[in-house]
Symmetry: D2
């Protein structure tokens, strides 16, 4: 059966021998580590909802390879409707978990590799595509969680890969063997990698012809020899270990459990290599991935913001401000900002078009506007949440104060607002808002799927100023008017 249960997912992770570090210490079992467990619990929801009848159409689909029902997270987009359903799935999961559920990078990386291998083969006579389809078949059959690995460390930002003082600032092939290659480097901000089954490593940038060693796309088991995960810190991360109402988000993670994954001379056998030296396709590959991924943010952040708006609306009831017209107007603004990006993501998906390989790409201009607006609207939504939740967010007491026998009652007494709600409840929702608007959360919205400037460069290129100038020229100077009308432009003629 292609659809894992949550427990099967967890147990399958336990079977892996992951080399991971959290807080600078080697982790014995990622499944049993309290810093990682919330992220695993979040991914588990993606598996769980695939078994819920009500969500079956959104969470699962039919494999174009086998005709079997598979998880949508292992699917190659076959239509615009598939793209729309992806966005709907993301919003649903965002509403369910209130955070990042981590499987989108892998999904989009799968699709990008599927598309580019087809194009490389067509042009170069290679056979990457069939090889990749075999790999894809296994991913679908085993319902694997894949982590896409895109973002290289990049070193000095004004230098290309081949110009860096340290040549390892972009993942590269350091040794070529008859049966495969050895890669070295790292990928940063790797979402979900620490609790994924496999890593799909793709080039993170366009390359020039002399940078062939950097043109490597391949799959790497998460517990392959030489793979090291180093978990990044998150705002307020250590509160997870303290428990109580300070945790913020007690069940799920903050964003995607991002880790640095190091490829410390990792051998990749040939059957897992999907691009190897074909530099001129790397720009397109990155672009394919980024375009799909940018549209996603209208879905997942839409769901996350639904939860944040809900928590904020609840705070207005706890405070007793919920009937104020200005308070309602601010909640409306949060809704408006959130729905704007969702609507655009749906638009980008509905306008999807077929790539050469037959899979579907989102409309790129729209996809880029989604992400660009996310880099603004998420901040604005967070700011409005702060406005409505009150100064209390900055000075909330901690769980230990509540538990202290001398002062616990005082703390509760003076943090009770509307007496229909307890002080503890107020604090728990306050801590949730704190985490969901923390630096870690906001920065992910800013830089995930590419920094703001990356979208702007694409948008300007897509817009074609020349064609817009031609429109203006025609509107001002065209002569195809209805004959006989006394148009002002003909009174004295154009100058």
């Amino acid at each position: 059966m292609a659809l894992k249960t949550p427990l099967e997912y967890v147990e399958s992770l336990r079977a892996l021998n992951i080399r991971a570090y959290v807080g600078g210490e080697r982790v014995d079992s990622i499944v049993d580590h309290p810093a990682i467990a919330p992220h695993i619990n979040t991914v588990a929801k993606t598996y769980e909802l695939a078994h819920v009848e009500e969500h079956r159409d959104v969470m699962t689909t039919i494999s174009h390879l086998t005709g079997e029902r598979i998880h949508r997270y292992t699917h190659i987009f076959q239509s615009a409707d598939d793209l729309v359903k992806k966005i709907q799935m993301l919003r649903l999961l965002g509403q369910t978990t209130g955070t990042c559920f981590q499987r989108c990078v892998g999904l989009d990386a799968l699709n990008a590799t599927y598309a580019i291998t087809f194009e490389v083969d067509a042009a170069e006579g290679t056979d990457y595509h069939e090889r990749f389809k075999r790999y894809l078949g296994r991913v679908q059959a085993e319902d694997l969680m894949l982590a896409g690995a895109m973002t290289d460390p990049k070193g000095h930002r004004a230098q290309k890969p081949s110009e860096q003082a340290d040549p390892d600032q972009f993942v590269r092939v350091v040794e070529r063997r008859p049966d495969g290659v050895v890669i070295r480097g790292a990928k940063l901000h790797n979402t979900g990698g620490i609790n994924a089954h496999e890593i799909l490593v793709l080039p993170g940038t366009g390359l020039t012809a002399d940078e062939g060693d950097y043109a490597i796309a391949c799959a790497v088991p998460a517990d392959a020899e030489g793979v090291v995960f180093i978990f990044g810190r998150q705002s307020n991360d250590s509160r997870k270990l303290e428990g109580g109402c300070d945790i913020g988000n007690p069940r799920f993670g903050v964003v995607g459990g991002e880790a640095m994954v190091v490829f410390d001379d990792v051998f990749v056998p040939t059957e897992n290599i999907f691009l190897n030296g074909e530099t001129r396709y790397c720009g397109t590959l990155v672009n394919y991935f980024a375009t799909w991924h940018r549209a996603n943010y209208g879905g997942c952040k839409g769901g996350n913001a639904d939860v944040l708006i809900g928590a904020t609306a609840k705070m207005t009831r706890i405070l007793g401000t919920e009937r104020n017209a200005i308070v309602k107007d601010k909640l409306t603004e949060m809704i408006h900002l959130n729905e704007t990006t969702y609507a655009s993501a749906i638009g980008a998906s509905a306008m999807g078009y077929a790539l050469p390989c037959g899979s579907f790409m989102v409309e790129p201009m729209m996809a880029n506007t989604v992400k660009q607006n996310i880099t603004r609207n998420v901040y604005q939504i967070g700011r409005l949440s702060h406005d409505l939740a009150g100064g209390f967010l900055a000075t909330m007491p901690d769980q230990k104060a509540l538990e202290n026998l001398e002062i616990g009652d005082l703390v509760r007494k003076y943090h009770t607002a509307n007496p229909d709600y307890t002080a503890d409840e107020r604090i728990r929702y306050g801590r949730y808002i704190e985490n969901m608007t923390s630096t870690t959360t906001m920065v992910e919205a800013m830089h995930g799927a590419g920094s703001p400037q990356a979208q702007r460069i694409v948008m300007l290129a897509l817009a074609s100023l020349d064609s817009k100038i031609a429109l203006a020229d025609q509107v001002l100077n065209g002569t195809d008017d209805v004959p006989g009308l006394p148009l002002p432009g003909s009174v004295s003629g154009p100058a």
Copy 2:
């Protein structure tokens, strides 16, 4: 044949006996009046493009009544794809004319009446729907231009229709006869009415049970006895009569040739009456119309902004600033703002759903975000255009100065920037930008299809804060976690 040519459209207008006033004077022939001709020329493009093979799929479709090919502007939306194609048609027409092409109000009014008559009949046992379908058949067969008439004068904004000092501040039935009714009142900001074939009059607001005389929906020929059109002024309108480079937009109109249409005791025969006293459906009727109409703005304004961006980009070449990184960034921002609303309009359309009558409604939350963003983005785009086009916009010389033998050469000499372009060209594009960012143009974007606050009221109602609070409650307090994970929330348990 159901598709009029541009000339047939113009001649059909000439055949009407319209009572219209422009500049306070009775107009002999609207077709021959230079203030109205540009608006007619604009509508003519809607007829013209329906005959262009390349645009046939977007501009025309098949009538669900007759199976005949008809203009999309007389079509009842049969699918989400129909809704998407409408938005694409609007962008195409916006790019072609750079202004409002006026037929959308009639189209959405047709659809709103189609839907509501079905629902009234089903609930009340009336037969409005069949009557309306006969009317619709004629509209489609004759390819009529309809002007929807929605906006009542409204008098004192804090009073309902029945509370007004002047009961005529909302259109109402003042006499009931065996063969029809007599209506009195006016509709303001009536787009395209002065050069339409017929007016489809709908209630402009929800009504209470005692306001039955205001619950009237009906079709009125544009030249019916008692119908008076009074053309509003537009910014810089009289320049159209002066000719030369001052005109701004020499071929097409500024926005939609809005007029006040007065119903000075107009008799409406029964066959043209589609709602008569059923007050409790008026709110839904208005809402149907407004929802479709709000999504439109992502299409038409998208096309208009394409032309404005083109004119602005051209100005940067005329000035010689086009290579500057900050200039490019500002053009990118214009593009981004414009594509955001287009993407959302496509999203709202693609998520369209069937109404009881079988026709398709756009997704209402998305449609409202479109219009809400228009009320901001159009201003921001205009502001950036001013920024890039320069102070020259405020002080451009006039055509007569260019023509004056003593000073014409001086004016040209000192208004030449990049010598590859003439001063006259610079001025003509400057005047176009001036008009396209004038008060008339901006205010239409602000208030057309409902003022900003109207959208916000709808959005808040649609969002359901209760359901969002439920999401937050579940994310914080839910207990459906994967068993065995060391989730922080269970370390000391929720408070």
Copy 3:
């Protein structure tokens, strides 16, 4: 007596033999031309209020040259208090006229010339300063209105003066005579020049050493041989000739009556020359002028916005919306945006410091923020005015419709909102708002005193990123802590 009356000002203009063109026609008498009269009436207020006891302290001061009471518009700033009073004068005049009163460019040009001549003399041994003081004495004694002339046509924006295809794109000396020089060129967007007594011509840009002919500062009587004024068009300008409620602003002008002033080989005698070839001071001269001028906008636009806010608030009463909480919030936002720039202008003035010549310069960073915010806030204020005043702004009927016997009553009936106000009054305030938010008005706010980018370049230069980095370095790495405190930075020491 140094303080002209309004009538004396008007009569003194009449005595000049100005060569001016309006609408492409030579004007017999500027004072009697309806396009120019409103601008003259506006300036007349600057003269009138100097005679009002209540405003004496703000409108007049004591000449540092003679000890005589003079108009503040001919004064060299002697203190920070003088700078503050200037801003207060501007707000008062803005509130009184609702538009540009035109004398600020001349005032700041006077001050810039005063300061730079002192510095040139000190460095170069020239005697411009004494010469200029004689000129200044006459300006003060006769209470002259001066128009500063700064903005050259500039031709191709990516080329310096000496690189232009047409060398006259910046004003320059084309002939040197024993008793003076002959200048050629033009200045654009010249505020108030057409109704000023004299023009103070300054270089409009920094210059390189080989551009000596462009380094010319001089005074030119407005009716000197070869001086030609060509009046620019303004949005809706021809309505002024139509009368009635369409005029918009019936008494005063729209912005500053900007004209192109051409120097068609104008002879300037030596006594009126204040800089002649000293290229390396031109950058400072332009900078002095621009800095003072940028602060002004917090005063004049503050007063103008007071009137616009008042007109908008009145419209809410006419409509009956004035009690709505959201309406009040939008008015509050208009107020906030307006007061922000006023407060900053006061701040820039209060922090004024002495230049080498002893006169006072505003604090430059603050002055630049004022203008930068004006380029945003004025647009935002206009947008909010549109929001509150309603769609009516785009479709208002005209005076001739009101006067037409057949339709006048209908127009009035259906434009009456709150019956406490007449339709005519509603229209007149609507037209005022239309003009005060027209392209001409907005663009002036955008580009007057330098385009937005000009301020940004200055701000970045003034901010000194190096010094800010030094602050950050010290905050993170400094060791000057109180001994003995258990500071976290010392637990394991800085890395």
Copy 4:
């Protein structure tokens, strides 16, 4: 000597017997607690800089009571210049510490009490003012750090103090004795109280006549019987206990070490009571305090943002992006936003006016715009910092990873960008940015000195829409024009 040294300040704290709780545990010595020490170190800078010759004029002044030199933080504002110097002092301290230095609440509370006691005495014949001056004399002579205590818990926000279910939601008198009163209640978000010498308790809201027990202003020693401090959590607070590069701000605090201070039936002797039952002065008292305090934010946040901009600019050098035009433009925007609020704060101060008691109040409209802009600009500045610093902010490795022998080198290798800077340095600056843009920091900027809506209510009241309408009426309808001018308004006369 009235000027304490930093060490004297620390030692004087040590002498107090403060009852404080941090992390739910009773603190033995606040001076020796690592969570409090950074805040003490920050305040110590306010004492230290008073001894630095270069800053003497800004940091100290002459007591109007005694003629002795005193710290500016104990001074009653005697002039507008005093107000300006306060803002300059705040910026200097903000630049020095990069955070809140805590003494402003006490200073403004001192000034508010000074002013209101004068007015109460004048109207009521009481003698609070003399009593307060004696208190003030001691504060100045001993250079005490005062914490103003304003913000009551407030309970249900839609209910007045006397309507609350728990009458203690606002501090009140619960017992009256011959020699004083007993107070009960709490003050939240109390800045600096935990390391202050005394608490100046003021009413936090306007009161009605029947709420006399809530009208209490008094001074309470920080170690008085019944005073309990409960330290609030801050974002990432526990990192301070971990040390290394994770701390963020290793030397100084995040915002003001806000604590809840509980008055658990505290006796206040008569000599420390400065208002006792005079309810009708409480609104003015709160208003005085808030107005001064709102202007402050232009100073302190200006200095803090200087440090943040510096850290961000440094990050662009570490990344190698510092030459990019768009990067520079974003830094410019940060500067612009920051200088806008500083300029307004200076403006508000320079326009200060004398209160009845002779001390100086800032201009209230300007002061409110400062704070209103802070609630926006601080967020925008933080967002731009995130944009420029990169996604790295969300996933930075921790100190323990750097120290781990197995992975430390890998972490460093792959976090090195421009090799001129170490990875450790990059992380330390990144952590600083994280903390300075954390929820705690942003929320303080949002809600300190009153939530955004509080400022808007004041601004609308101050603006007087009636007077602005009068301006508009006069501009449109006034008849005081220069006779004889052909003004368009007189062509057909006003309607």
